[in-house]
């Protein structure tokens, strides 16, 4: 059942995991940003696999389009070394490995325990963009307004913080 989807999932998942590990281990800030693009594009592909095409397109526009430009500008303006930089990890970076492994072990146990071998529904209702917009401008109208104020505050805050005077 759904062999093509499973093969696609496996390939994309492997690329995403390799990309994510490179983001947190690379010694070059610009390479880290570019590996992050790989992970974000893989996430968009997984959203398509999960029949969420509008979120996938938004992911490409906002993350790969806007957030990546912000990261590259941040790298440039803080004059991080363009190239290898051995000072990217802090002194106790090795502590992160057991913390991450313990966290993953507990989450994996909980997930296997609660979902086991439950399958995704194959005949589920197809969610289209119109339903998402009905949802946002219906029951979620108030959070949507609040979010627009959050974005406004973030824009003004970023200008105030980064202004030179």
């Amino acid at each position: 059942m759904l062999i093509a989807q499973n093969i696609g999932f496996a390939i994309i998942a492997a690329i995403m995991i390799i990309g994510a590990i490179r983001v947190v281990t690379t010694s070059n800030v610009v390479h880290g940003a570019l590996w992050l693009v790989v992970v974000l594009a893989g996430a968009a592909a997984q959203y398509v696999l999960l029949a969420a095409e509008f979120v996938a397109v938004t992911q490409v526009l906002v993350y790969i389009g806007a957030v990546m430009v912000l990261f590259l500008f941040g790298t440039m303006l803080t004059r991080s070394r363009i190239g290898r930089d051995s000072g990217l990890n802090n002194t106790y970076w090795k502590l992160g490995i057991p913390v991450a492994l313990a966290l993953f072990a507990s989450m994996a146990i909980a997930l296997v325990d609660s979902f086991g071998s439950e399958k995704m529904p194959t005949d589920g209702a197809i969610v289209n963009t119109q339903q998402i917009s009905d949802q946002i401008f219906g029951p979620y109208l108030l959070p949507f307004w609040a979010l627009s104020f959050v974005l406004l505050a973030a824009v003004i805050g970023a200008i105030v913080l980064a202004r030179k005077d």
Partner: protein, 99 residues
């Protein structure tokens, strides 16, 4: 397709992001690790949206994307401000709050 394959992929990405937040010293790299964590959460939301046949998960994911964009904007301007005042973005050097 199992439900768990997406959830465990998201858990792996989340843990890699947590490792990045702990291990990195450079402010920009810490923000990148936070993006990894937020993406793992989004993947979970979309997976549950499909499992439950509901639109709510996708709506939440869109909200998370918008908040993440605002967070990166403010976070990077903070890093920029720290760089301007201290000439470094190494988070180890910001130790004024040590008791």
């Amino acid at each position: 397709m199992f439900v768990n394959q997406f959830l465990i992929l998201a858990a792996i990405l989340f843990c890699i992001g947590v490792y990045g937040v702990i291990a990195r010293k450079n402010g920009v790299m810490v923000l990148m690790a936070i993006e990894l964590i937020l993406n793992a959460v989004n993947l979970n939301l979309i997976a549950f949206s499909m499992r439950n046949g509901s639109v709510d998960g996708q709506t939440f994911a869109l909200f998370v994307i918008a908040v993440a964009a605002a967070e990166v904007g403010v976070g990077l301007s903070l890093v920029l401000l720290i760089y301007r005042n201290r000439r470094t973005i190494s988070l180890d050097d910001l130790s004024e709050m040590k008791g």
